[in-house]
Amino acid sequence: MKLHHKLLSGVVMLSLAGVAFTACTDDIKFGSSFIEKAPGGTVTLDTVFNSAEYTRQFLVGLYVQQYYGLPYKNSTASPWSQSYWNTKLDALTDCYHQHFSGSNAYTMYYSNALTSNDRAIIAYNDDKVWETVHHCWLLIENIDRVPGLSDSEKKNMIAQAKCIMASRYFDLYSVYGGLPIVEHTYTGTEGDLSTRRATAEATANFMVKLLDEAIPDLLWAYNGTTIETDATNNTGRWTSAGAMALKAKILLFNASPLYNANQPYYDGSTDAERDSVVWHGDFKQERWQRALQACQDFMNANDANGNWYELNKATAATPDAYRQAYRMGYIYQGSREIIHSTRVAGATSNKASYQWNNFVGPTTTETGPGPFRHSYGPTQEYVDMFCWADGTPFDWEGDMTAGNINGEKGKLFFEYVKGRGGAVQRKASRDPRLYENAIVNGQSERLNWTSGVSEGNNYELWVGGYHEKYQVADADGKIVEQDTERFPSGYGTIKYYLGREYQGKYTQWVYLSYDEMLLMYAECLAQCDQLNEALKYVDEVRARVGMKGLKTSITKSKAAVKPNMDNKQDVIEEILRERACELGMSNNRYYDMIRYKHGEWMTKRLHGLLTYRLIQIGKNWEHNIRPYIGDDKNAGVAEPSRFEHSLFELQNRSRVLWDYSPDDLEVRKWFLFPLPLTEINKGYGLVQNPGW
């Protein structure tokens, strides 16, 4: 017995010793503490809001989630609007036609195949909007307890959060209509989240309320001298100018005919229309008055702040200088024309593998290679919106008859003057902004970054040309309009791209700008029947690029049908045209299309330009489908100066809506995007937009 006990206890001790040793350095725990999770670096809400530094970082995190309108990521992850597999709102307008066959423009929009089961361009639940709103409220609700922040800094941070929240609401409001209003954080455990969509008006008022609360606590501009207030460290943060401009933009949208009309845009039978989430139910002139007031408030405040925001003026009265002024107005990060910009980290070359610049243009040489996934070809319809350099409206048919396009005196984009020995002088013949919104045949590859002078080779966008090769038509003249190429419409994208010299620069997205403010002001004035006052602000925008006033210019025009500048509708349409020229690639053309229910912009057939280089053989001018750069240039042949232009209908791919009448409900449903069906099916009270 005793022996047994000894043996037994010996073995037991051995086992226990084994336990103690084999578990190495970890403590052995028994009972419930044994099954605790191993400690990890878990950050909680308290970690964040017990530190001023973390709280400031938290605010930075909100900025990261702002809308950025240049798709640059090879990713389908949220935010969906940043993926180049998606497309841009501009590609749905009459100004641009996307030629990248991998994009949704091809597979969902031009084919009219989008359903409520797909993510729209700005996705209701896949663009980080609700995430941003949640995080904004989280900051607002918790900032009181953060140690080490002054009251004024807290107020300022809350105000910034409110602006971000309002801007994200606007990003959805502008393409979906009324939205559920979130006025606090959700914990997720509420059980019933039955939040219905608010009316369009209530949604606008909610955004305006947030901005009104924010305005007093923000700086007008980051133009101070301290590290907290200077431009170098702070440009990009929300300011009261940004908040006031956004307020004006929201109220303008709210007053626009899409929502503010006596008739709904669809057939009036849908729940969304009955609930006033996509239509106010009536027209009220006061809505325009309110928008006008917001514009005036901005202008007055800017005046009171020494007119900090202003148009970037040209240093000389030359086409290049006007271009440079316009270009630097939107691209320069310190531009005083920009009221609010959004940025993304890594959006420059060499710092991330995918970005806007690399997908517009070639990556190594001027002609390639490149993935050309941003083949947003400007359309002929867009190019035609740009006036002649003096401001006279352009009119394809009239100007063709007048010999301004083809023939000896053809000067579609440049006037060529032959000097002695065949040397050719070129002078830009159109609105300088054209060359900054579309790459056209004959313009230089570069506008010098600092001097603003054209340099480098000329873009050769004729059939067989150095840059275009056979992207528009093959050698036999058959239109091929190749996709995933750079000049499929006969023009190329330049806005935000500029040229290869811009590779490596941070590309901001202009969210609100002073020129847009002027044109919004003009539109509100026109809507409130102050036509002459309205034209004053339009002309201010035109004057920056050296163009004469609208009324004067139209009077000079020889076109058969001319807009009447004493007619409200005509003035408004001219303002919209001016907006397209001034605010290319800014989503505004899309907003204008739906705001004014311009279904005809969707159903209008769009065109590209077919250009031939001509050479004289005997007495005849014949097509020459060879590039100039290379053998011809090296041999000292004179620069090509005579071209033949004709139009072709875009066909790769044509848009299904072109076959519809603008009044067809199939067209009109497109004024607002579909909400995701899965989200509606979750049953918390969302109603679908009409027609989807």
Partner: protein, 945 residues
């Protein structure tokens, strides 16, 4: 008598058999089979209430396989075993007990001698038998780990007062079945031209070039290499040798085995280098010692130890040679070019050159080392309380791998053809790439795992009044598991369990198990869970009305119900699902500022709210119901029948479908998943001896069906997209309705949105009737491609005067294959090869058959055709001859003349020699881009002394 007659008629009326051979080869009858369920007491089948099938010693080692897992492939009743592919080193089957069961995981628990362990290096020689634990009564005592069933491997032990030495030697000749066949260079070139023409592009190869591929006049520029035959030899070889010492004395038993395994693979050119071979090789040594020591008349000590060392060597850079063979067409480049450097072009990189990779890239090694050790002490306390005993157990396992990377880079190149002049190709400047390398020397630990178990408890076993048998145990156990990839996330579990077993007169048996389990993987407040199980059995054959009946030798009815808890983590091993986390995202910089280049400004790492903490977290539970019969009839027919039902509840799934986007942060995981499964197993085994002839036949048939009842699925736009209500892991895809005939056919059909469609492309059905074919037209098109619903096997065997034959067949049904192997089924001629099968069966302008076996050729990935669809789906049912053996036991008189030998057996085996399936050119278990499966012929000898 009447009752017996009825029973007899109901079962197998026509047979009347003598009550003789109801024992397996080890001499244990079916009723006396040991059924281990994790208790400290092992019951016999007659006593047990659990649903357990046993792969007996007779069957565990008939495939001369690498490990016990491969050895029991196809065997058993209730076990689904699916062959693994890859090189010899990597071949391990996938197991399911009763098929797919849950949205989380269906992987069963694998135990070696009662401890959760990897079986991949346990040799079949050291295994006594394998049990398949199926119902709640069998799994109750495994706590959180038993929900998916268990496979229990029991190793051999010695016997008292005996001495036996056994030597086994197997030599395997291995062959690869269904090697892919690719087209020759000229055919590839013309196929490329055809593909270009299909896409409206000009031909890539001129007729001169195609002729050059054909006549081989310019073998360096226009090569025609059969990469499969050049890279791989026809056969490989494996040698296995095992020496076993077993026996014991009065108070001591031992079993020791030394087992050596060596495999050489299929690389053809392995000896091109001095000093090393680039063959695929695997060498392994196992040394096991199992001891049973009677320390005192009441103290028993049991020690099991397995030490293992292995070494694997393969060509350098861990090159996947089979992947290359599917990628590189015969026309891509020569093995070596004119100047002796490896072939490679700017289109097809020389890094894809299978010959260069298999002989010019040196080698890469993995070493595995493992120690499995456990010790059990049993102390009888009958002097204190009669019937009481105490059991203590401790075990420690360790496993690690090291790699040695001796890979080497190499130079490759080619002379490109710039054009043809006067019928002769003109060569351009030599193109070359790759860097000349020296052999690498890197070595490091790769993976490791360790485990500690400890258990202790009291047992009570007594029979009262001769009829009342009672067994009870109280036990506490814990385990600690730690492995690579989970640093900081060590798993701790512990259990307190109570088991009570009561038998009345060997007729009525009842059992209750209460399992109180804790795990550190579960959320606070949910870490501990109680899993109760009740089961009962009625041994009819011990009833007086069946006593002495010659037809029914043994008959037992069983039933069980139990709740088995599981501690599975949600998502991809997410541990902090119950914590509302906030995290810094370092990539979230924001470039404030007015300068262009500046990435400075106020760049911060921003703080973001993480996934929402799970609300009311719980844990997955399996409600298992089982009824069954165990019987031996007619003296030799063993029957098992089980019908089961299982409800899985509270399975972790993503809650995204239930949460509004408005909450503004990631939806939590939720315990909303529910899966029901049900099925049955049926097995028969009949042995009879007539004079000198003994024969055996039998089989098993299993049917496992499941249905997803709930998975918090996001609301779907169309009914066809809903997955709830379908079986787990069903195949979803498009329904193909032939190929497009011509452009008119395309114009008249609904638009297909995947890519530009051309004649010869696959035409799909508009399932949701919206006029467009897109991802919304996907629907359930087939069974699971992961596990079959039907699994069956049957065997026959006979022995006459020492000469014997046995065969085992195994098959599956309700099983789906989705073909997608590049080069084989999805050729995209710019980057892969082209199989002969595809070429012969393709649609082409000259053979515009809308029902062609394969669609038109395309140069690049064809998004329209290469969708999962019924077009690529095949019935994956198959029937295989898993193993066949012919053996001869040398007559005792002859063997014993040697004076030292006891028995001698020689045998020939065939492994996986024959397969019936619906796939023409591939094996139904291996139709992807991977090494083909092996067929083997084995010559073996077994001597005992």
């Amino acid at each position: 008598m009447k009752k017996k007659n009825i029973l007899m008629l109901t079962l197998l009326a026509s047979l009347s058999l003598p009550a003789a051979a109801q024992q397996d080869s080890t001499g244990i009858s079916f009723a006396d089979q040991v059924i281990e369920v994790g208790a400290n007491k092992d019951f016999t089948r007659a006593q047990s209430t659990a649903a357990v099938s046993v792969i007996t010693n007779r069957d565990v080692n008939k495939r001369s396989a690498k490990n016990i897992g491969n050895s029991i492939l196809g065997q058993g009743n209730g076990l689904v075993s699916l062959q693994g592919t890859g090189t010899y080193f990597e071949q391990n089957p996938t197991f399911y007990v009763r098929g797919l069961q849950s949205l989380s995981t269906s992987t069963p628990l694998i135990l070696v001698d009662g401890v959760e362990r990897d079986l991949s290096f346990v040799s079949a020689d050291e295994v006594d038998h394998v049990s398949i634990l199926k119902d709640a009564a069998a799994l109750a005592l495994y706590g959180y780990k038993g929900a998916n069933g268990a496979i229990l491997i029991i190793t051999k032990r010695g016997e008292y007062n005996s001495k036996n030495i056994r030597v086994t030697y197997d030599h395997l000749f291995n062959f690869q079945s269904n090697r892919p066949k690719f087209v020759d260079g000229a055919t590839f070139a013309s196929a490329m031209n055809e593909a270009m023409a299909n896409e409206g592009a000009p031909a890539r190869y001129s007729s001169e070039e195609i002729a050059a591929f054909q006549n081989g006049n310019y073998p360096y520029q226009y090569p025609n290499v059969n990469w499969v035959d050049e890279t791989f030899r026809k056969s490989g070889a494996t040698n296995k040798i095992g020496v076993e010492f077993s026996g014991g004395g009065e108070r001591f038993r031992y079993y020791t085995t030394l087992n050596l395994l060596s495999d050489k693979g299929f690389i053809k050119n392995f000896s091109d280098n001095d000093g090393y071979s680039t063959q695929d090789k695997y060498v392994r040594g196992n040394l096991r010692t199992n001891l049973d020591i009677d320390l005192t008349p009441t103290t028993m000590l049991k020690v099991n130890m397995l030490g293992m060392l292995s070494e694997m060597s393969r060509p350098g850079s861990q090159a996947d040679l089979w992947d290359m063979v599917y990628s590189v067409p015969s026309s891509a480049f020569p093995i070596r070019n004119e100047n002796g450097e490896w072939g490679g072009t700017s289109t097809y990189s020389g890094e894809l050159n299978p010959m260069a990779q298999s002989s010019g890239a040196a080698y890469y090694k993995i070493h595995e080392r493992a120690l499995y050790a456990d010790m059990t002490l049993n102390q009888d306390l009958k002097y204190w309380i009669p019937g009481l005993s105490m059991t203590l157990r401790v075990g420690y396992d360790t496993y690690s791998t090291l790699y040695e990377d001796h890979s080497m880079t190499y130079v490759y190149g080619s002379y490109p053809v710039t054009g043809w002049q006067n019928g002769v190709p003109q060569l351009g400047e030599y193109w070359t790439s790759g860097t000349p390398g020296t052999m690498g020397k890197e070595a490091a630990t790769d993976q490791w795992a360790r485990r500690l178990i400890f258990a202790g408890g009291f047992n009570f076993e007594r029979t009262f009044a001769e009829k009342h048998y009672i067994y009870g145990q109280l036990k506490y156990d814990y385990e600690y598991q730690n492995s690579t990839g989970a640093t900081g996330y060590t798993i701790y579990r512990q259990n307190a369990s109570f088991l009570a077993h009561y038998g009345y007169d060997n007729r009525y048996i009842g059992e209750v198990a209460l399992m109180y389990s804790g795990s550190n993987r579960l959320a606070p407040g949910t870490k501990w869970n109680l899993g109760p199980t009740v089961s009962a059995a009625w041994v009819l054959s011990n009833e007086s009305f069946l006593k002495g009946c010659s037809v029914v030798n043994f008959l037992k009815l069983r039933g069980s119900f139990g709740i088995i808890n599981a501690d599975y983590l949600p998502g991809d091993n997410v541990w902090d699902y119950y914590v509302q986390s906030y995290g810094a995202n370092a990539s979230y910089n924001y470039p404030f500022g007015s300068g262009y280049e500046a990435n400075t400004g106020n760049a911060f790492g921003a703080q973001q709210r993480g996934r929402m903490a799970a609300v009311d977290p719980s844990n997955e539970k399996a409600y298992k119901y089982n009824i069954g019969i165990d019987a031996t009839l007619f003296g030799g027919l063993n029957v098992e029948f089980d019908a089961y039902m299982q409800q899985r509840k509270d399975i972790w799934v993503s809650g995204a479908g239930a949460y509004s986007a408005l909450i503004g942060f990631e939806a939590p995981y939720t315990n909303a998943g529910k899966v029901d499964s049900k099925g049955f197993e049926f097995s028969l085994d009949y042995t009879k001896t007539i004079g000198d002839l003994t024969f055996n036949l039998g089989g098993a048939f299993n049917y496992n069906k499941n249905e997803i009842k709930d998975q918090a699925e996001e609301p779907k736009a169309y009914d066809n997209l809903v997955e709830t209500g379908n079986p787990l892991q069903s195949t979803y895809g498009l329904v193909a309705i032939g190929l497009f005939k011509d452009e008119a056919d395309i114009a008249n059909s609904p638009k297909q949105n995947f890519s530009t469609v051309r004649p010869g492309d696959i035409k799909y059905e508009d399932i949701n009737n919206d006029g467009v074919i897109d991802a919304n037209d996907k629907t359930k098109i087939g069974y699971s491609a992961y596990a079959p619903e039907i699994f069956y096997n049957f065997h026959v065997g006979a022995e006459y005067k020492g000469i014997g034959l046995n065969m085992m067949f195994q098959g599956v049904g309700n099983y789906t294959a989705n073909l997608s192997a590049k080069g084989m089924y999805w050729p995209l001629l710019n980057s892969t090869s082209l199989s002969q099968q595809y070429y012969d069966g393709r649609w082409s302008p000259s053979n515009p058959d809308v029902n062609a076996e394969f669609p038109r050729l395309s140069t690049t990935s064809n998004a329209n055709n290469y969708q999962t669809s019924t077009y690529w789906q095949r019935n994956r049912s198959f029937l295989k001859l898993r193993n066949v053996e012919v053996y001869y036991n040398l007559p005792d008189c002859l063997v014993q003349k040697t004076g030292f030998m006891k028995t001698a057996k020689v045998y020939l085996r065939g492994i996986d020699l024959f397969c019936l399936s619906h796939l023409d050119e591939a094996d139904p278990e291996c139709y992807g881009v991977s090494a083909p499966l092996n067929k083997s012929v084995v010559a073996g000898v077994q001597l005992s002394f």
